[in-house]
Symmetry: C2
Subunit: 414 residues, 2 copies
Amino acid sequence: MTPAGPLLRQVNTQTLMQLIIHTGPVTRVELARRSGLSKQTVSEIVRQLQGADWVRETGRVRGGVGRSPVAYEFNPRSGFVIGVDLGGTKLRAAIGDLGGGLLHEIVESTDPLGGRHVIEQVCSVSRRLADLADASWDAVLCVAIGTPGVLNPQTGVMDFAVNIPSFGDLRVQDELTGRLGVPLLLDNDVNMAVLGEHWQGLGQDSSDFVFIAVGTGIGMGVVADDEIRRGCNGAAGEICYLPIGADPLDRANQVKGAFEEAAAGAGLVRRYVEAGGREVGVPEIFAAAADGDAAAQLVLDDEGRLIGQAICAVAGVLDPELVVLGGGIGSRTELLEPVRNWLGRFMLQPPEVHTSALGHRAPLVGSMAVALRTAHQDLFGATALTPLVLPTPPSGTADAADGDVAAPNPGGTR
Amino acid sequence: MTPAGPLLRQVNTQTLMQLIIHTGPVTRVELARRSGLSKQTVSEIVRQLQGADWVRETGRVRGGVGRSPVAYEFNPRSGFVIGVDLGGTKLRAAIGDLGGGLLHEIVESTDPLGGRHVIEQVCSVSRRLADLADASWDAVLCVAIGTPGVLNPQTGVMDFAVNIPSFGDLRVQDELTGRLGVPLLLDNDVNMAVLGEHWQGLGQDSSDFVFIAVGTGIGMGVVADDEIRRGCNGAAGEICYLPIGADPLDRANQVKGAFEEAAAGAGLVRRYVEAGGREVGVPEIFAAAADGDAAAQLVLDDEGRLIGQAICAVAGVLDPELVVLGGGIGSRTELLEPVRNWLGRFMLQPPEVHTSALGHRAPLVGSMAVALRTAHQDLFGATALTPLVLPTPPSGTADAADGDVAAPNPGGTR
DNA sequence: TCTGTTCGTCAACTTGCCGAACGAATGGAG
DNA sequence: CTCCATTCGTTCGGCAAGTTGACGAACAGA
């Protein structure tokens, strides 16, 4: 089943591939030093990789004494990935190469007809991106899509995809996979956003941090130990249900969640009206506060208190290094100071709080990160080949009777 | 650096070892089928393992047609691990074999002198356990200790180890490692408890669940994706600081935490007094409630409300499959119904809530699990040998300007 | 006792990697 | 301009590990 030769060679090939990717242009001798392999083995494998176009020469390294070595680097155009941020109004998509470089980006309005029309739109945009990048469709290795809603990990259906008409009914995963013919990943847009910040934003140096999006709704993405955490139903980070702000016992507040009821867009407007303001949109409230409107300022400070309280709850559970605020309301820098202020009054040692570095592009960047990572895993990852079972502790007391053993399993499972 | 031969053989040896451990008694042919290796290779490696006493024959499998094969099983006595639950008043310790079997257990009072005396006590108990199990000290592969307090991941010092006099000042990790001469793991007792439940208690089938201990203090252990989560400062699960019950803005409530101030032992007693009860201990309150004391019943129902609110907050952040209640107060079954009742009023789809299956032995069992797992990792794990770097996406800069269609990045990153 | 079947081991062959030695390129010294 | 130390890259013989194939050994049932 697993001939020995191929396996070892595969491991070594992947090792070298990893080194070439992460070390940038590198000579064969350097590879031999770092991998511990011998020069000849390295040469042979590199030759293969170059033949398969995974790797390309990048010139010679001159300057030292002795013969100039040839340097090799990863050929980023050996594959492409596509990331999509599918919102209720806008569809953002981008194509990038396997080196992590972003090549082209398309932004357009989401098809208001919803349902299959949106699926069709995603396909169309994807193929246009591939054309823009002058890439054959076969070279597209992975597509990742972030969209509002909770992904049901079992069925692959996005529940609560309220922003797009009749989108929740479709088996989006299957539909799109079938139509694109490419591995497809679907996830919550907040999860994508947190991964975006982890890859290229504020969370680059943090292995434990959260992204809190406050806008029309409220959501949170959690990165713990450098991985996204989804919880058992994919509902981790659904802090809209936190018992904060509104009465958590009122059933009316449990549909969208007490915290969301109070702190999200509608709640903010309602509190502004209650404080004596006119019934306007969220941006107008911020503008009014900037103009010195006392009611608006009070409401925004209160918003800071609510968010601070939520962060306090999150920090008590997760102990993140950093909290990134995003979304239509959360990304307003005016909120930063009240949030920090209130948080400091709730906690003795609060986590750092910052406004998203990527802004509305966070979910898109995150989708790219997911697609890229998946492609790399599939191509060069350790997943497929390790024959090792996870080393979990043996379960319970060995209840095997001593002495002769019962008959072996007849079917010869496998 | 890494000779090829040994590496491949090591991988295969570990593969077979894993199979033998997890499959129980198993014949060589079966091993060959499952591992994909040939019969000869399996024979050779099994011979070696048997010579090194890692594996032993366990009789022949009779009943089938043809020659009876010899079955092999993991020799659990090839190594031993020790788990310790070091509390403020009691010290529980146990020794088990590498098969997960618990062999002997010792419970005694913690040395009230604290500090080095306790360290000495741990050493003494450990060696006595090894003697009881008739194991040479060299065969003890790992010791894990759970104790109250927050482990500082950097220094290895237990901060806030308030229950044991002058214990927080010591570099316990280093002291004990030096004195025992064995790999030693130190962690929070609540973390140990959650791992105990994960191994042999209620959380066996859950990859995402939490253990909430309510007693003198309040703490929570978090298992997400089958791993314990500590957060960036090891303070994950410190739900004592949740803004629940007491005024979270009062600095006096921030030392121990608002939630702990309200819901832990002292808070429970205080609320009972405020409700008209006498100043008694926690067990007396439970007894009074059972006797029909209205004030006590009210206070306990209120305790259920507080805990329910905390679970609501935790569930909103982590989405656990299960919440296990433990600790002096939390493990009282009388609380289960009020907690569930209130939780159902807070949330539409609350997680399951149960009382700890292991009770006060949870931290001890968890320590055993940690020690066992560490020993297995060290012996048969994949950690030491994989030459693969983690396949993270390469960090390319792609700061494309916004716009309907962004220009391709000009610099040709990297 | 015979026979079909399965287990376990011995031999011959293949793969992959390494050490050592050798030709090739390069920059500097004379 | 030539020579040379130095480093790069390749070729050759050898070793370690695994696989296929064949054969003796044990066992159940006829």
